[in-house]
Amino acid sequence: MTSHSGQQHPISLYLKIWGLLFVLSTLSYLVDYFQFQGYLRWSLIILFMLLKAGLIVAIFMHMAWERLSLVYAILVPPLCLLVLVILMAAEADYTFALRQMFFR
């Protein structure tokens, strides 16, 4: 499969993913509509977010059919961002605690 005729998949596959993304978006909207709170809200929001992101990257962006060298080059670097998320969350918690103490 060369670049001239690459990435041909049945239209029905795209329609199915499209429908699935609609369902997942509706579900995450309903999380807010019914005002779920706490861990239930967060686990549902993150779950639907990751499922949607995964479907878009894997099917719409054809990542599922790319060679592993490209897949790893694209998907591994964002793990560094996850480290940054954790660092910044810890730092923000600390800032919040300090502000609670001194700026009430």
Partner: protein, 230 residues
Amino acid sequence: MSALLSPSPETSKPSFGGLRGLVADWSSDQQAFQVSWGKAMMWIFLLSDTFVFSSFLIGYMTVRIATTAPWPNPSEVFALHVGGVEVPLLLIAIMTFVLITSSGTMAMAVNFAYRRDRMKTALLMLATAFLGAAFVGMQAFEWTKLIVEGVRPWGNPMGAAQFGSAFFMITGFHGLHVSAGVIYLLVVALRVLRGRYEKSGNYQIVEIAGLYWHFVDLVWVFIFALFYLW
């Protein structure tokens, strides 16, 4: 001599896939990504954009966790009055569905491009661009509404001052990407329609434009979850 310098096709392209293929692709003296340069460059650009968007979202998260003033409730801020009832996040939900639909039409455009169906490709791309423009229009409406209500980058009447700066920066940067994407899609669609790629038969530009468009949708998935649903 040239036969010695340039390796034969059998040795330059290992036939095995999986993890062994990964190691062979990275360690050999050859292109690491066996895709066209255009596609590789788009992926690398998108990776860099991932880092920019993530920095914005992480900055927003940091500010939101660290602030002691109450954060405005997004589901109330972005609610719309419909028939006398306050529907939470209605506009954002519609925007999400519009953007997902545009991703669907784009994926189908790529498919028809590889089948060399010029008319259907161009029409689906134009539909995608139209949905993107509709998204930006709704975002302009949303911005106007918030500005009228007194939200500014340095403060707002609903709570934490940082809400405005996070909102305008994140949605503004995303809206800029959507607007640029609409122009990009229009240019490619017109070129497809005029038959620019007929001679070479290489319609990969549609897939590359599609990668950009799906990425815009992908970023919105994260903004929707982390900004509007938090």
